[in-house]
């Protein structure tokens, strides 16, 4: 219990420090600090959703196939382009912005902690593979569990246009594959992942005045390393 309390105290103090730091950073970019809390919270929620839904897609037997298809669709909606190619505007050195076409959002994976081979998949393929594996009889693992650290670090806020920013979110995950009898962990690894975040400040005209909405979309997911 004491250990749990210390851990929670650690997490709380770290998150307070991280948010305090980001207030300064983001203020340098012209975002008001009261808006920051909202942006931070929204990013953390989106990343949490992504992590939770991945666990649902990878799990065997807990979630029906139809529910997994719904979760698959919901997960893709978190991402810029929703699994398809997308366009962004990037600052030009001569003033103004340049339209750029991007391939569909990618997920980088490392196959195992032993071989450490990096592969890049479209997000649609990555998510489909999670479902396929979870429903394949006699798959090498009887159950897959993906745990995630609660603390999501959001940093590297950078301006890319008027009211448009990119940032990064960093997560730690623990993967466990159970043996066919389900009694022991046959394989486990830890991964550090970085997610690109696209942030758009949208102003909506309403009868009460202008409402500001922060649109948060996830981008490419990179696997930093595995161990």
């Amino acid at each position: 219990m004491k250990r749990l309390f210390i851990t929670l105290a650690f997490c709380f103090s770290l998150s307070v420090a991280a948010v305090a730091q980001n207030v300064q950073l983001v203020n340098d970019l012209g975002i008001q600090s009261d808006e920051l809390a909202d942006v931070q919270e929204r990013i953390a929620e989106k990343v949490d959703d992504f992590q939770r839904w991945i666990q649902d897609l990878a799990g065997r037997g807990n979630v029906s196939h139809n529910t997994k298809i719904e979760i698959y669709d919901r997960t893709l909606k978190l991402f810029i382009g929703e699994g398809k190619s997308y366009r962004t505007q990037e600052p030009s050195p001569y003033g103004g912005y340049i339209e750029k076409e991007h391939e569909a959002v990618k997920m980088t994976t490392i196959n195992s902690k032993y071989k450490k081979l990096k592969s890049h998949y479209p997000m649609t393929t990555y998510l489909s593979n999670l479902i396929k594996r979870s429903e394949t009889p006699n798959y090498r693992y009887s159950q897959i569990v993906i745990e995630a650290a609660d603390a999501v670090r959001v940093d590297n806020f950078s301006k890319i246009g008027d009211g448009r920013y990119v940032a990064t979110a960093h997560i730690l995950q623990h993967f466990m594959g159970y043996s066919s009898d389900g009694r022991r962990v046959q394989y486990e690894d830890y991964t550090a992942k970085t997610i690109t975040i696209y942030i758009n400040r949208l102003e909506i005209n309403t009868p009460e005045g202008i409402n500001v909405i922060w649109q948060i979309l996830l981008g490419d997911v990179d696997c930093d390393d595995i161990w």
């Binding site: 851990t7 103090s13 991280a18 990096k118 590297n156 730690l172 830890y190």
Partner: protein, 269 residues
């Protein structure tokens, strides 16, 4: 100094000798505890280095010498087994210079280089090259990473400074008909093979389609801003309390020698 040395020994003993979490993990609180130690990004590294973001485990040890302790904890301490005196002395010296001069790291500082170890396909074989990238200001508040150099073309034999080609001394009278011998392997035919600019050569290979990018494997950051030092920051993925983006190489370099080192770093020459 004695006090800081004691701190270093304390950090070494607590960070290196700390038990590996993998023995007991299985619940999220422990993964969360590990996440507090793990330096998750270059951004977090720089904020901890500048001590404008102080991790809880540093705060818990007291309020004195916070920045010194933040910086010590950012070293790859597995390189300093048992507080090895020479390596520890070098870390302490660096630490005291940074703190005394209040040197802060920013991503926008000139003097930061990212070395990306990239895998390419060249003539159906895998080829590893290091691209050097710098953080450029485009205009106003806008920045981007851009390619400043490439290393590995000479080592891979693609630029061959020892190759020698011969165009005979009367060729000028024949409209240099033997020039065809220099294609496509032109290496030995340059007046001064050491003048070959690797980045232009690389750009030519990429443009012609001879070089195909497979992906970036690892990234190392080189910081040259601290007077008298060049140091590298790379990822150290492991399950202990000294993990993530940490200082790996610490080189003592005279400031007047830094331009040469940076030039060598970018051009390989």
């Amino acid at each position: 100094m004695v006090r800081v040395r004691i701190l270093l020994v304390f950090c070494l003993s607590s960070l290196i000798a700390a038990p590996c979490f993998s023995q007991t993990w299985g619940s999220n609180p422990e993964l969360n505890a590990f996440a507090n130690y793990y330096v998750k990004s270059l951004n977090e590294f720089m904020h901890r280095f500048n001590a404008d973001e102080i991790p809880a485990f540093i705060q818990e040890e007291g309020k004195e010498n916070i920045r010194q302790r933040c910086i010590i904890a950012l070293f790859d301490l597995e390189q300093v087994p048992n507080g090895q005196s020479e390596a520890a002395r070098r870390i302490l010296k660096f630490d005291s210079i940074v703190c005394a001069s209040n040197i802060l790291l920013r991503i926008t500082d000139p003097g930061l280089y990212a070395e990306a170890r990239c895998l390419f396909k060249y003539k159906k074989k895998e080829l590893e090259l290091n691209l050097v990238l710098v953080y450029d200001n485009i205009r106003d508040d806008y920045y981007r990473w851009s390619i400043a150099g490439v290393n590995g073309l000479v080592e891979a034999g693609i630029i061959d400074t020892a190759a020698y080609g011969y165009i005979n001394p009367v060729q000028h009278e024949l409209h240099f008909s033997e020039l065809s011998q220099a294609f496509p392997h032109m290496n030995g035919y340059f007046s001064n093979p050491h003048d070959i600019d690797p980045l232009s050569f690389f750009a030519g290979l990429a443009e012609s389609g001879a070089l195909e990018l497979v992906g970036c494997q690892t990234v190392t950051y080189w910081f040259t801003q601290v007077p008298g030092y060049v140091f590298s920051v790379s990822l150290h993925p492991r399950l202990n309390t000294n993990a993530g983006w940490l200082i790996h190489d610490l080189l003592e370099v005279k400031d007047e020698d830094k331009p040469k080192i940076i030039d060598y770093f970018i051009t390989g020459k």
